[in-house]
Amino acid sequence: MNTMKWLLRREFWEHKGGFVWAPLIAAAIMVVLVAGVVGYGVGADKFQGDSVTVRVNGEEVHRTQMSVLATGHTRTEMANVAANNYMAVGAPIFIVLPVVAFFYCLAALYDDRRDRSILFWKSLPISDTTTVLSKLLTALVLAPAITIGIASAAAFVILLLAGIAVSAQGVNLFAPVLSNINLYLSPVYLLAMIPVYVLWALPTAGWLLLVSSWAKSKVFLWAVGVPLIVAVLLKWLDYMLALYGTTINADWIINNVLETMLLGLVPGAWFMDGGTALPVRAQYGADMLSLLGASWGSLARPEAWVGAAGGVAMIVAAIRLRRWRDEG
C-alpha cells in the first residue's frame, strides 16, 4: 500500500505538466476570456437597458427589460438551470484529459526503457504488477479526479462572473444560485462517474499499455496504425465478400472493437454513437444528476463488461511482458 502511494507520487512528479498544468492553463484561459467579456460588458454598460427586443419582420414591436421579465418563478427557474448545468462550461477542460491520458499510457512502459532508467526502477523492491497498476490508476482515476477538480473550480468562477453580468441587468441570481444544493453536488456527481469511466476506458488503457510494454520503438505507430490497418483490411474483406452475398460485419467490428480500443479515454464515451441515450434533461445542458444516472445505467450494456475484460487481459499481458523487458 505504501509502495503504491509512492509510485503514484512518482507518476505525479513526472507528469505534473500533463495532468495538472495542461487543464489548469485551459481553465485559466477560459476564466480570463469570460472575465474580459463580462468586465467589458459591465464597464461599457452593454448589459443595461433594453435587453429583450421582439421584432416582427424587422419591425420592433416590443421592448422590455430583463429585470421585468425575470421575476419570481422565472428567477427560481433560471437559478435552478444555472446551478444544475454550470459544469457544462468546463467541457473544454475535459477535452484535454483524453489527449494527455492517451499519450501518458503510450509512454508509461516505454519511456523508461528508452532512457534505460528502467534498470533503476527494477533495482528497487517493486513488482511489475504494482508498477503497471500505478500507471493505470494514474491514468484512469487520478487524472480524471484532478481534471474534475480544476473544471469544477473554473466552472464555478465562470458562474460567478455570469452572475455579475446578470446582476448588471438588475437580476440578482446570487442568492438562489448559491443556496441551490445542486451547485455543490455537481462536482460530486462527476466524481461518482469515475467508476463508470474506468470500466469504459479499460480497453483503450489496456491496449495502449500493452503496446507501451511490448513495442521496441514507434509506440504511436503501433498503437494507432495496427487498428487502422485492421479496419482497412476488414472493409476490403467485407467488400470482396459482398460479391458473394455475405458479410463479416466490418462496420460493426470497427465501431465496437477498434473504436473502443482507441477512443475509450474520452469522458462520456459511453454516450457516443447513441450507445447510451443522453437523458432528456441533459440534452440541452448538463444536468449532472440525470447524467450520473444514465452513466451508471450504461453498465447494463454487455459491451461495457466485454470491453473491460479485454482491457484487463491486455493489462495482464503488459505486466507479463514488462517482466523480461529491459533497456531497448
Binding site: 509512492w6 512528479w13 532508467s117 533495482s123 523492491p125 523480461w324
Partner: protein, 285 residues
C-alpha cells in the same frame, strides 16, 4: 545459506550468439568478488541473469532463490547498479531520497544524506541539470544507503574522477561492507579495486577462466624479474606471460613453487591487471 550466488551450467544465448556458455561458479556470502573480463565477455549478461532481468538456461540460485520466478522476493535483499547514469531526467535529489525511503524497508536516509553532503548535489537539483559524474554520485549515494545482503555493481564508477572513485571504494569497504554482505563488482579499472577484493573471477567468451580467492591467486601466480643469464632456465618452467622492463625479463608463472622461482630472480605478487592481460592474451586476435 552459505552461497550468495551459485550457478550450474548457466547459459544464455542471444539468437545464435552465445553470451554465457554453460558456466559453473559459486560466490560464498561475505565476500567481495571482482568479475573481470574484456568487453563482450558475458560479465553483464551473467549479472543480469542473477538479478532476474533476463531469462536464461541452466540453474542459478541467488540468496537461495530462483531469479526467474522469485524476483520480487529477491529484490528485498538485493540491490544493484546495472549501469551508471541512468536515473530519470525529471527526478529531483530530494524526491529521489523520499521515494527510495518510502519504497525500501532497508534504506537509511541519514546515510544517503551524508553521502550527498560530500558532493555538490543540492536537494532541488534535477537529474537533467547534473553532470554525468554527479548523476553517478546520486545513484551511488542511494544504493550505498540500502542495507542489502547482496550488492551488484556493474561498472559503478564510470564517469567519476579519481578523487571520488578512491573515496567510493574506501566507503564501500569501511562503511558498507561487513561479513553478512556480499558484493560483486565488475570494472575495467582493475587496479583500483584489487586491494578491496577477496575473490577474483575472470570471464572470457562466456566462460569462467579463473575463479579463486585473492590468497589462492597470491600463492598460485608469481612474477619473477629474470636477469638475462637465467632466461633459458626460466623459459623451461613455461611462464604464462613475459615482458621486458629495463632490459630484464619479467615472467609470470602459474603454479610453480616460490622457492624454485626465487633462485631465478626477485619474486613478487603480480598485479591483477598483469594477471588479467596474461590470461586474456589473444582475446581480440
Amino acid at each position: 545459506m552459505n552461497a550468495a550466488i551459485s550457478a550450474r551450467n548457466l547459459s544464455k544465448k542471444y539468437g545464435k550468439q552465445t553470451a554465457i556458455d554453460g558456466i559453473d561458479f559459486e560466490i560464498p556470502a561475505g565476500r567481495i568478488v571482482g568479475l573481470i573480463g574484456p568487453n563482450g565477455s558475458g560479465k553483464t549478461t551473467t549479472l543480469k541473469a542473477a538479478l532476474g532481468l533476463i531469462p536464461f538456461d541452466g540453474e542459478l540460485r541467488v540468496m537461495g532463490l530462483d531469479p526467474r520466478t522469485q524476483r520480487d522476493a529477491l529484490m528485498q535483499d538485493v540491490c544493484f547498479i546495472a549501469d551508471v547514469a541512468i536515473l530519470p531526467r525529471w527526478l529531483k535529489v530530494r524526491d529521489a531520497i523520499d521515494f527510495v525511503a518510502g519504497i525500501h524497508p532497508r534504506f537509511d536516509r541519514t546515510r544517503a544524506e551524508r553521502y550527498i553532503a560530500n558532493t555538490r548535489l543540492k536537494p532541488e537539483m534535477k537529474v537533467k541539470q547534473m553532470s554525468k559524474g554527479m548523476i553517478v554520485q546520486l545513484h551511488l549515494a542511494l544504493v550505498m544507503a540500502i542495507d542489502a545482503k547482496l550488492l551488484v555493481l556493474d561498472e559503478p564508477t564510470l564517469g567519476l574522477d579519481i578523487l571520488y572513485r578512491k573515496q567510493f571504494y574506501q566507503n564501500l569497504l569501511e562503511d558498507y561492507f561487513d561479513e553478512n554482505k556480499t558484493i560483486v563488482i565488475t570494472t575495467h579499472q582493475v587496479e583500483e579495486v584489487e586491494h578491496i577484493l577477496t575473490d577474483l573471477m575472470f570471464i572470457r567468451d562466456g566462460k569462467i577462466v579463473l575463479a579463486a580467492s585473492m590468497d589462492e591467486v597470491g600463492e598460485r601466480y608469481v612474477e619473477v624479474m629474470v636477469p638475462a643469464d637465467k632466461v633459458n632456465a626460466a623459459n623451461a618452467l613455461q611462464p604464462i606471460d613475459q615482458r621486458t622492463v629495463f632490459g630484464k625479463s619479467v615472467m609470470l608463472f602459474d603454479g610453480v613453487s616460490r622457492a624454485q622461482l626465487s633462485a631465478l630472480g626477485e619474486t613478487r605478487n603480480p598485479s591483477v591487471a598483469d594477471l588479467f592481460v596474461a590470461t586474456m592474451k589473444g582475446t581480440y586476435a
